[in-house]
C-alpha cells in the first residue's frame, strides 16, 4: 500500500525535473528491501500522473536484490526473509545493497527549434 506514497514522490520528482516538457519515461531504482510491488506502483503512478506532464509516461523499474554481510565475513543475496547469517547463524549482519528508492532519470519530449514552415 505504500506504492501510493512512493508513486506520489516519484511523480513530484519527475514533474519537477521535466520543467513543463511532456514525460515519456521515468526510470526508477528500487531495492528489494523496500518491498515495493512493481505492478501496484505502475498502477498508482498512472492514476496519479493524470493531468500532469507525466500522463501516459512509462514507469520503468530496475529492481536491485538485497545483499547482506555478516560479521563472520560471509556475504549473501537475500532470497528468503531471514537476516540471520546462513553460515554462522549470527545476527550481526549489515545490509550491503537493496535499500535504494530513487528516480534515476526521465525522458522528455523536447520541441525542436520553433521555426515554422
Amino acid at each position: 500500500m505504500h506504492e501510493l506514497s512512493i508513486g506520489r514522490e516519484i511523480l513530484e520528482t519527475a514533474v519537477h525535473h521535466a520543467e513543463g516538457r511532456p514525460v515519456l519515461l521515468v526510470s526508477v531504482t528500487i531495492g528489494a528491501l523496500r518491498q515495493v510491488v512493481p505492478d501496484s506502483l505502475q498502477f498508482n503512478f498512472a492514476i496519479l500522473a493524470r493531468g500532469t506532464v507525466c500522463e501516459g509516461a512509462r514507469l520503468q523499474a530496475r529492481l536491485v536484490p538485497a545483499r547482506l554481510r555478516c560479521e563472520c565475513g560471509h556475504e549473501w543475496e537475500l532470497h528468503e526473509l531471514s537476516f540471520l547469517c546462513p553460515r554462522c547463524g549470527g545476527g550481526r549482519t549489515s545490509v550491503l545493497d537493496g535499500e535504494q528508492l530513487s528516480v534515476e532519470s526521465i525522458e522528455v519530449e523536447e520541441a525542436p527549434c520553433t521555426a515554422r514552415r
Binding site: 525535473h17 516538457r21 540471520l84 528508492l101 525522458e107
Partner: protein
C-alpha cells in the same frame, strides 16, 4: 520532436530526511526527546499511552502528538489525562495520508508547547507499511504488535519490524484464548531484526507496562537514542 534523457539521481526520501533533520534540530533545541510510536490499527497505541500516562513516567513531562487520518477520538481520550496533546489530521490538505511524514509533523510544531515537555510521543497513523518509510525527527522508534494480529507479522512487514528500536508485544492477557504462538512470533522477529529489544505487556491489565515506562525514561535520558 525528439527525446531527451534528463539525469535525475534523486533519492525519493531525501526531501523527507532533510525536513526530519530540521525537526530533530528544533526538538534538540527545546531539550525534548521524541519517540515515534507505530503499529497496525487497533494494536493498542492509544491504550498503552493511556495506561502509561495514568501511572506516570517518573518525573517526566510527557506530551503527545496524535496522528490520525480523521477525527480527534484518540486525542480526546488522552486529553482527559491532562497531558498536552496536539491533534494532527492527515486528511484535510494532505489527501488523507496513511502515515505521518516529516513535513506534517513540522506543520504541527507551532501548535506544540515544546518547552512544557521532556518527552514527546508521536502516535503515528495505524499502519504497518508507510510509517516505516518516513522518519519525522524522532530519537527512537517503537512499534506495537498485538498477539491478535498473528505470529507471522514480522515476516509480512519486515520494513516496519526492522526500523524499530523496540517491539512491544501487546494484549498478552488474551494469550490463553488464542492460537498465537509467542515462541514462533519471537523466532520470526529474530529472523527479521536479530537482537531487537522486545517486551511483553497488556495495556488492558497493566501487566508489564512499567517496562515500557522505563524504556521511555531511558529515551528521555538520551539512552537508546537513534543516530
Amino acid at each position: 520532436m525528439h527525446r531527451t534523457k534528463v539525469r535525475v539521481a534523486s533519492d525519493l526520501l531525501d526531501a523527507n530526511e532533510t525536513i526530519a533533520r530540521a525537526n530533530r534540530a528544533d526538538f534538540d533545541r527545546a531539550g525534548v526527546r521524541v519517540v515515534n510510536l507505530m503499529s497496525a490499527p487497533g494494536a493498542g497505541k492509544t491504550a498503552l499511552l493511556e495506561r502509561v500516562l495514568i501511572d506516570g513516567v517518573g518525573e517526566l513531562r510527557v506530551g503527545v502528538l496524535e496522528g490520525d487520518v480523521q477525527g480527534s477520538l484518540d486525542a480526546d481520550r488522552l486529553s482527559a489525562l491532562h497531558v498536552p496533546v496536539t491533534q494532527l489530521n492527515t486528511d484535510p490538505g494532505f489527501g488523507g495520508e496513511c502515515h505521518l511524514d516529516a513535513n506534517m509533523v513540522r506543520s504541527a510544531l507551532g501548535a506544540m508547547e515544546l518547552g512544557e515537555v521532556d518527552l514527546l510521543v508521536i502516535e503515528n497513523v495505524g499502519n504497518l507499511v508507510c510509517p516505516a518509510e518516513f522518519r519525522v525527527g524522532e530519537d527512537a522508534r517503537a512499534m506495537i504488535s498485538s498477539v491478535t494480529e498473528g505470529e507471522d507479522k514480522p515476516l509480512k512487514y519486515p520494513l516496519m519490524f526492522r526500523t524499530c528500536e523496540l517491539v512491544v508485544v501487546n494484549k498478552i492477557d488474551l494469550l490463553p484464548h488464542l492460537d498465537f504462538s509467542l515462541e514462533r512470533f519471537l523466532e520470526n522477529l529474530e529472523r527479521v531484526n536479530p537482537g531487537v529489544e522486545h517486551m511483553l505487556l497488556s495495556a488492558r491489565t497493566g501487566k508489564g507496562v512499567e517496562g515500557f515506562a522505563r524504556w521511555l525514561t531511558a529515551v528521555a535520558g538520551g539512552e537508546a537514542a537513534h543516530a
